[in-house]
């Protein structure tokens, strides 16, 4: 006696929870691996999975086992030339000792490697990061709607039929429509039964025949009432409810002046790319404005921002001024959360730095949530850093600055700038 069941339609991700628990448990290892990976990757392929290697000893589920040593006998198959009493030199690593545990894992014994898929990779990459001070929420845009239950309606999409309500409706209709016929049917049947009790007579026969016909007609009428009619159908209704969303705009300002050499630009690009991925991933309602500057600033598109080659002197304030103009034109500060990330080598014209500080203080910072500045300059600081430091001291929450020496700093600095701050769990 056998039952054959097709289980292929059942969920195939039965192990998902266990897999997630495994990832969670080894979060630290995985984050380290992700960290390394970020620094080694070219800027184009951030959105790829990653092969994670964890030392096997950290993963062990320990059990009591015999260690090497002592006196043991092991039976092996496939003897060729040995005779009883032969002695042979001990193979290195005690290979002949414990055939079971040690060798069946093969060469993969040292490390435990597995693939993270792209989504998991980015999850780890941006875990615990957020745009700071995200406070302004507005009703805005078409996509900021949420579907909620809106009761039961009589017209709708077949996929939304409410079966219980439809059947109840049908049952009510059948009862109502059939009520008169059924009542008459009852009366007729009662009369028929009474007649059948009586003595035989021609009138009785005639009446009985008539009754039979009437009963058949009534029964036909009841049975013709449809079990389910289109008027019975009821549908679940959903209505779209607008939800307040927070909108954010991020200004990415990159210095492309002559003092920025190729390597420094590469670092800046990497930093922005990380930022770009982060914003794209975490905030659907985030706009990004790309600004590049040398002596004059220009708003550009993504492609040009990352890949075009152009160069010149350095006036940082030009970029800040342009930012300020764009904010005034397109992003009224009462509707938008405004962020800026700036990357530069800090090699600004000396008399320009005070201008920058003034623009920041008077025009930008009052309207802005957060301004992050990265200086890409090995070892020493440049003129702009000192000026910006003053701003930082005055506005420690809204203005942050960090320095990047080499590729290995990018990710830590990025994490530092956009770390989720404890007090910022706004509802």
């Amino acid at each position: 006696m056998s039952f054959i069941v097709d289980r292929r339609l059942n969920g195939r991700h039965k192990s998902t929870i266990n897999r997630q628990r495994f990832l969670k448990r080894y979060r630290e290892h995985i984050r380290e691996a992700v960290n390394d990976a970020v620094n080694q990757r070219s800027i184009r392929d951030m959105q790829r999975g990653e092969r994670i290697v964890i030392p096997r000893k950290d993963l062990s589920e320990p059990q009591f086992h015999h260690g090497p040593g002592g006196r043991r006998s092991v039976v092996h198959p496939g003897n060729r030339e040995f005779q009883q009493g032969d002695t042979i030199t001990r193979p290195p690593g005690g290979g002949a000792g414990d055939g079971g545990q040690a060798s069946n894992q093969g060469e993969g014994l040292d490390d435990f490697a597995f693939e993270l898929d792209p989504r998991e990779f980015l999850n780890f990459l941006f875990e615990g990061l957020a745009l700071p001070n995200l406070i302004k929420r507005q009703l805005q845009g078409e996509s900021s709607y949420r579907a909620v239950h809106g009761g039961i309606v009589s017209e709708g999409n077949p996929s939304k039929i409410n079966i219980v309500r439809s059947m109840r409706q049908a049952s009510m209709r059948r009862r109502a429509l059939g009520a008169a016929s059924r009542r008459q049917l009852g009366e007729l049947k009662a009369e028929q039964a009474a007649l059948l009790e009586q003595e035989q007579s021609p009138e009785r026969q005639a009446r009985l025949a008539e009754l039979g016909e009437l009963i058949a007609r009534r029964e036909g009428r009841v049975s013709r009432i449809p079990f389910l009619d289109t008027v019975d159908l009821r549908y679940n209704h959903t209505i779209r409810q607008p939800v307040p969303v927070s909108r954010a705009v991020m200004f990415c300002i990159m210095d492309v002046s002559g003092s920025m050499n190729q390597e420094m630009k590469e670092l800046a690009k990497r930093f922005f790319l990380l930022l770009f991925l982060f914003l794209q991933r975490n905030y659907t309602h985030t706009e990004i404005v790309f600004i590049r500057h040398h002596t004059s600033a220009k708003e550009v598109d993504e492609q040009e921002f990352f890949y075009s080659r152009e160069t010149g002197g350095t006036i940082v304030s030009s970029a800040l001024k342009l930012t300020s103009d764009i904010i005034r034109e397109r992003y009224p500060e009462d509707e938008w959360n405004i962020y800026t990330a700036q990357a530069s080598d800090g090699d600004n014209w000396n008399d320009d730095s005070p201008t920058c500080v003034r623009i920041l203080r008077e025009e930008l910072l009052p309207k802005m949530q957060y301004f992050a500045y990265v200086e890409i300059m090995p070892r020493r600081h440049q003129a702009l850093w000192d000026s910006y430091m003053q701003v930082h001291l005055q506005h420690p929450n809204a203005f942050a600055l960090q320095q990047i020496d080499g590729p290995e700093d990018i990710y830590p600095v990025f994490r530092e700038l956009f770390r989720q701050r404890m007090e910022e769990h706004t509802p």
Binding site: S2, F3, D6, R7, S15, F22, F64, V75, P77
Partner: protein, 512 residues
Amino acid sequence: MSEPVRREPLSTSSEWNFDLIQRFDEEIGRIARDKYQLDTFPNQIEVISSEQMMDAYSSVGMPVGYHHWSFGKQFVEVENRYRRGQMGLAYEIVINSNPCIAYLMEENTMTMQALVIAHACYGHNSFFKGNYLFRTWTDASAIIDYLVFARHYIAQCEERHGVEEVERVLDSCHALMNYGVDRYKRPYPISAATEAQRQQERETLLQQQVSELWKTFPEMQPGIRRRKQAQRYPAEPQENLLYFIEKNAPLLEPWQREIVRIVRKMAQYFYPQRQTKVMNEGWATFWHYTLLNDLYDEGLITEGAMLEFLQSHSQVVYQPPFDSQWYSGINPYALGFAMFRDIRRICEAPTEEDRRWFPDIAGSDWLKTLKFAMQSFKDESFIQQFLSPRVIRDMKLFAVLDDDHEDHLEIRAIHDDAGYQTVRQLLSEQYNLSIHEPNIQVFDADIRGDRSLTLQHIRQDRRPLARDRAHDVMRHLYRLWQFDVHLESIEDGRVVERLSIPPKEDSAPQEQ
């Protein structure tokens, strides 16, 4: 045997469908029942995809199980190796339950499905139903119920106490899982509902008992002299570490005790499987071989299918020699299959040698003898009883002695007249779990003193423990016991090594 009637093959293509599976199952079942009188549980054959097979792998084949990261790790590992083509998935997984659940993978050809049906649904199935270990220690009809209970209970604990807290307890229990087995007592079958109810009763009662055991109140009063420790507790060493912890650990919460119990039950359930690897696989392999040959004799499968079957069969029972790079110990399929075949041969066509070695079974009814062997033994005693010189010769078995006092390894016995007995004895010991696994028992719980727990490892042939792993396991034990734990290695009645958690240097009291 009379010439069977040739019939039309059931299928000539390698594609399978549900009708075909059913017809094959009927035919195989008919032969197994009518010709060989195999007694089986009803079968539930489930067709699954390869991904589902990986899921099944990582949960030891159990259809429901509690959540734990180690299963996730296993899944990741299996998935990885499968994706990179380093390993094929097993053709089948079969669960010792009633009905007996067997998984067929959709990628297999019809021939392979037939092989799996014969192997799992009639081979393993009849083994589960017949072997004395499974009959005494597992209850096929209750296991699924119990798994459901365990999963719900652990999920509930996670909700109440947090995933991490529960995970910690499970980790510690898993480390001691091999020592959570009752070797002599027999558990009784109960349903999920009764189990849940029992659990609550147990919870209150157990806590009471433990409190009783650890009550120190009278001694704390001044003037009353501390009682002399009259006796060790437990009076006899206990081999079931998890049981001892469940009943005696001083500070565990009731729910933690229940988790210890769940892990212990799982260990108990798998214990017979660990003891009958060779027999179980050998029996199933013997029957798929026999049943498919019968199908072929009746003309129900084509010659092409038979060739395909023979090819994968010979892969399954291939034993690489000890110096091959593929060698990883003795293949239980190969050894078991060879032994069951040989028992049949001894019954049907005994030689002079067989009559000398096996006077009882030589020339007897092979089916009866085979079933007797299947029902009444475990690997260790099965080999001890039935490993014939012929099999030793065929497999060219030899025994190597590795003594760390000597510079060289010594060949103790080979496949010759002088060696058969020794090889058989040593191979049998190799499958004796109590020799294979370190012999560790609860020796003393200092219930009147510092509440420390002492385990003893009785060394056999001077074999030490793998120290760093033992250290990790002891830390898990410490987490459950929550007072000092010691592990003493005993050799010739003397303590030769001592391992303490926390380490002896800082012997400050570790109250929690």
